[in-house]
Homo-oligomer: 336 residues x 2
């Protein structure tokens, strides 16, 4: 399988390392030999038809801060130049999420699908702003669009709801989908002020460069859009979510909740309406997890309520989700 | 699909009702029209080649305590007579689990597989005592053996580990797999004595007719055997499990745990050794669920630790697991 990777940050680097460490195993178990034939970051990119040396690629990125220095003589290429001129089967989009116009990821995905490439996106922006139309474009171009890593990181939440609960009707769900705000709220429940808890989360590297994405609930809302489309068959985008962040949660609110044997959590829920807002959850509800953990409870017609809990982020975890998508695409292709 | 059901207790009746309520939907969505062509309980059974009237069947069972009164004139048939003389695609085994010789379920399953029927078992006995050899027998006879309902009831624990985590290596797992003992231990943590908690659980109908299956950890151990074989590829049976039940857990033990911010739970774990025993679990570990809930945490090489929580029993829930297995078998057959 010939792969182009857009962006070469933590997740993409983890994915490259995962491919190196598991290459024998992937070939033996699944018969695939993935080759990265093109990669770019904000400073430009490179292609190499027989496949790039992934160890060298990671080293170059570490040394120069960009992958463009991988090739010596060639002029570095732009992302769209690479996508439009490289022969590849799959595009992996890992650039940063942006909820204004979803660029540059949106253009990468559209260009790749028009050229007949399957797409794996861990970038939530394009899905949050245009899930229904991207799905239509994929169908129209006979390609697959996968995005396991967008919700739950390495925890296969989307797959669980779609496949493990096949034959079931999910009637509603509610989840803690953003680890950063959960970490902040957990520390507030342990006595910190909002400001101190935010500072602590920043010092640990948990907060997005644009803190509003976490604190104002954009990240949780984007995941809710993806879940609502993929699992409930709704055709919705970001503006359909009623969204309230955690900036106005006070230490008093948190103390009041504790008196009720509850905790305040940023909950994303789908039950007729799509809502992201801070809400009180009983302490002994399985959903009420602490620290950076994510959790989601699905309620289905015949199987009751089931909760999945796991880390919602992390380079290695998200890279493992990309690999699952890749194996999934491979399986679907073979079936045709 | 032509189906024989062994046993017609709560689970089988729930399954019959589920088929009635979802018949249109199953035909429209999956193109299947399941027909129960044979059924029996301890007092005998009946067959009807065009398929039994399921509403009538449930009524007859309710009225007479057995399904044998469904047909008027015919002599009631034994289970093996039905299995050996009825043309069917799938056998659903729902008789009671027995960890001494796994009968009568073992004979039903073996007879059905030898006749080329696929088997769905919610009876844990045969799997606990002979998982590796039953799997071999299924392969030899080119039939499928499925058992989603044996672990987690309607919570698709086996499917999650096998499919949602595909491409991953699960390195260890630990779970609360028996709802009855969890209910008892939860009440002990709230101040009840073991005797009072057991009495309360019995009054609610949570305890097996043979209380030893719950209290001495046989039920949890049987589920551990199934998980170890199916998910870890181990070839083990009941005697390979180190098993300790909850009878010796005292109120003092429970109080001591509470002081450590922990709770005593009956944990079934696979980490080199296969063990069922009461152990202290930190209160804020996602695994530490209360009441009759089940929970299991899988640790995998790249995706960290993930926990699934849900009700582990219940007629409707287990019936929904049988239906998932049936859809799964249908899908596999079509693929051949």
């Amino acid at each position: 399988m010939r792969i182009i990777i857009c962006g070469f940050g933590t997740v993409a680097q983890s994915f490259a390392k995962l491919l190196v460490s598991r290459s024998d195993d992937l070939y033996a178990k699944y018969g695939i030999m993935p080759r990265i034939v093109g990669v770019f970051d904000t400073k430009g990119g490179i292609t190499e038809s027989p496949g790039l040396d992934l160890n060298k690629l990671v080293e170059i990125k570490k040394k120069y801060g960009t992958v463009r220095n991988y090739g010596k003589s060639k002029k570095p290429l732009s992302g769209l130049e690479i996508i439009n001129n490289t022969d590849a089967d799959v595009l992996i989009e890992t650039t940063a999420s942006n909820y204004k116009d979803a660029e540059p990821g949106m253009s990468h995905i559209i260009a790749a699908m028009k050229r007949g490439m399957h797409v794996i996106s861990v970038n939530k922006g394009p899905l949050a702003l245009a899930f229904p139309s991207l799905m239509e474009l994929a169908t129209y171009n006979h390609v697959l669009l996968r995005f396991s890593g967008t919700v739950g990181g390495g925890t296969p939440i989307l797959d669980y709801a779609k496949n493990s609960l096949r034959g079931e009707q999910i009637t509603s769900f509610a989840g803690i989908l953003n680890g950063t705000t959960n970490y902040i709220l957990t520390n507030m429940a342990r006595g910190m002020s909002f400001a101190a808890a935010l500072k602590d989360a920043k010092s640990k590297g948990y907060v997005e460069a644009d803190e509003s994405l976490d604190l104002d609930g954009f990240d949780a809302a984007a995941k809710l859009v993806i879940l609502a489309n993929w699992i409930m068959g709704m055709k919705v985008t970001m503006p359909d979510i009623k969204r309230t962040g955690i900036r106005k949660v006070t230490s008093e609110d948190v103390k009041k909740a504790a008196k009720n044997n509850a905790a305040i959590k940023l909950i994303a829920s789908c039950n007729k309406e799509l809502i992201v807002s801070p809400r009180e959850i009983p302490i002994d509800d399985p959903l009420c997890v602490n620290g950076t953990l994510n959790a989601i409870s699905f309620t289905s017609e015949h199987s009751g309520t089931q909760t999945i809990i796991g880390r919602g982020a992390g380079g290695t975890e998200t890279a493992s989700a990309i690999l699952r998508d890749l194996l999934d695409i491979r399986k679907e292709i073979l079936r045709d």
